[in-house]
């Protein structure tokens, strides 16, 4: 079983549209949506939910005002500015428990935190593991890890060959959590200076964690000069460009109809995404031989 994760650094380069299409092209796979704080893959895959599990993670401090003597020690010591006027700001509390340890009146308890939900669903393309982080919650990295664990479990028990993961934007905690231990990362970029800048950083994260990476240039014909910059950068870094998807409004049109573009059109976009999946499956095969 091999796992490929689709990342980009910069948001909005087309990760989810591409994963939706890979879902339609690939056989024998589990899909996972690792963008747990702004999940969109379900809009394309139309899942029917089979299992809904609460995700309890981390703790939050709670001050019992009846016991609190207003000594102020907790406020002085909290490094996250999470306590003001003897009240805990749940969006600032990082759950370290320092206040709970030091409160001389034992007025502080650490309470379990419902950080979100994760789901196992059926789609016409195969099983999907996805999640919903609670509003303004922490621990997105841990929820991503939970989603991936379940996806691996499903792939193993059902004897499926691939896990295809839709990753979050950025390079921080949920990205690291989506990436670590994956067999391949596909980095979707676009020919804008921002896209290039962000590609360089997310490739750095792949290298940091030793995950092989290849690039997909989306909307590749929007800016010829920048496209060439990306090609040059990739060849100087020894990173393969696995596909070059042209800009076409058909992608948005398919999205507004709620279907993967490869099922909506037989045009150039579809041909390039087919090529992308072919490249991914070959790279995963080679990865297995190393």
């Amino acid at each position: 079983m091999k796992e490929v994760v689709i990342l980009s650094g910069k948001g909005g380069t087309g990760k989810t549209s591409i994963v939706g299409s890979l879902a339609a092209l690939a056989e024998s796979k589990v899909l996972s949506d690792c963008d747990v704080d702004a999940a969109d893959l379900h809009l394309l895959l139309k899942p029917s939910r089979k299992r809904d599990t609460e995700f309890w993670s981390g703790k939050l401090a709670h001050i019992d005002r009846d016991k609190c003597t207003e000594c102020g020690l907790c406020q002085d010591l909290c490094r996250f500015d999470a306590i003001r006027d003897y009240t805990v700001d749940a969006t600032a509390c990082e759950g370290c428990g320092f206040c709970f340890q030091v409160c001389p009146a034992e007025a502080i308890t650490m309470e379990e935190n419902l950080a979100g939900h994760w789901f196992v669903s059926e789609t016409k393309y195969g099983p999907l593991v996805h999640a919903r982080l609670g509003i303004a919650q922490e621990n997105s990295g841990k929820l991503v890890a939970r989603v991936r664990k379940e996806a691996r479990h499903l792939a193993e028990t059902q004897g499926l060959d691939y896990i295809i993961s839709d990753g979050p934007p950025g390079i921080g905690c949920p990205v690291i959590s989506s990436l670590s231990g994956a067999n391949l990362a596909i980095l979707v970029t676009e020919p804008t200076l921002s896209g290039i800048h962000d590609l360089v950083r997310v490739l750095g994260v792949c290298r940091h964690f030793g995950v092989p990476a290849a690039v997909c240039i989306n909307k590749c014909d929007l800016n010829e000069e920048n496209r060439r910059r990306i090609e040059d950068y990739c060849s100087s870094e020894g990173v393969a460009v696995a596909a070059r998807i042209p800009f076409d409004n058909i992608v948005t049109e398919a999205l507004t109809h709620g279907v993967p573009v490869v099922e909506y059109s037989q045009g150039r976009v579809t041909q390039e995404i087919e090529k992308l999946w072919y490249s991914i499956s070959r790279m995963l095969e080679q990865e297995g031989k190393r």
Partner: protein, 288 residues
């Protein structure tokens, strides 16, 4: 006044809106631009600041003095992040897991734990076309963006207007970046993904008690469900930017919209007036 430019979904045009808003206001006000998207900061691509200052962002992580430690295990017991472990007569620390809360050093009965700084990113600042500029850059391989964002937010305190560029999503980096602002602009695009993530972003800013308005970018692209959503939720659409190849071309080349198409300046000034009216109506947000 502090205006945050956020979105939920990535790539909807946050940086495009934030940079042009700051540039439009710079002629008449003391303006600062804070790029709080420290994982993928792009504001500098468009504003091209002359950077004159640089400061490392560090997290205080524990350092154990072996000659004082009696391996009682208190530090490991109080650490919520498993960043310190006592194995027999050996203490191991895992600096990457440490949030720098300070509990272990404060609570060590032998006073054996001091703290040393571990760099997780940098903040750089300077000036760009009359704008006081600062951005944070999380080091590659680091997981925690909020400490870097907190440092970025220390800049621009003496400005009349601060524009913050917010990372995508709805989780802790977004909350940290938005916290303390007077108004949150939510940039979206009229697609099912844009709408889904706009609704999540609206829920986040409402949870935080911050007033918001929408900028509809690439209008004409998808469907009209976003406008319907905004009407239903009584969220004002404060600016509409059409799907336009010239705008896309400027963006691709790293030129700010108002620099390449100066007629947009008036629209951004009007946007600011609308924001000011909305903030005045509410009497401002006192949380800082």
């Amino acid at each position: 006044m502090i205006i945050a430019v956020a979105s939920g979904k990535g790539g909807t045009g946050k940086t495009l809106v934030a940079t042009s808003l700051a540039l439009s206001l710079a002629g008449e006000h003391r303006v600062s631009f804070l790029d709080c998207d420290v994982e993928e900061p792009n504001g500098h691509v468009f504003l091209k600041p002359n950077l004159t200052g640089r400061e490392a962002v560090t997290i205080p992580v524990p350092k154990v003095a072996d000659d004082k430690c009696n391996y009682c295990g208190k530090c490991a017991q109080v650490c919520a992040y498993n960043a310190i472990a006592v194995l027999g007569d050996h203490v191991m620390t895992f600096p990457q897991l440490c949030h720098g809360c300070g509990a272990c050093s404060y609570l060590c009965p032998k006073g054996a734990i001091s703290e040393e700084p571990r760099e997780t990113g940098v903040v750089e600042w300077g000036e760009a076309d009359g704008i006081s500029f600062a951005h944070g850059v999380l080091n590659v391989g680091e997981a925690m963006a909020p400490p870097v964002i907190r440092k970025v937010k220390e800049h621009g305190r003496d400005s009349e207007i601060t524009v913050r560029d917010i990372p995508p999503g709805t989780s802790c980096p977004v909350v940290e970046a938005i916290k303390g602002c007077d108004f949150c602009l939510l940039v979206t695009e009229p697609t099912p993904f844009g709408l889904n993530d706009l609704a999540l972003a609206v829920a986040t800013v409402r949870e935080m008690g911050i007033p918001c308005g929408v900028v509809l970018n690439r209008a004409g692209l998808g469907d009209t469900k976003t406008e319907a959503y905004c009407r239903r939720e009584k969220i004002p659409i404060l600016l509409t930017i059409p799907l336009d190849t010239e705008i896309a071309r400027l963006y691709a080349g790293g030129t700010a919209l108002v620099a390449g198409m100066p007629r947009w300046r008036d629209k951004f000034l009007k946007l600011f007036e609308r924001i000011r009216e909305l903030v005045d109506e509410r009497g401002g947000n006192t949380q800082r």
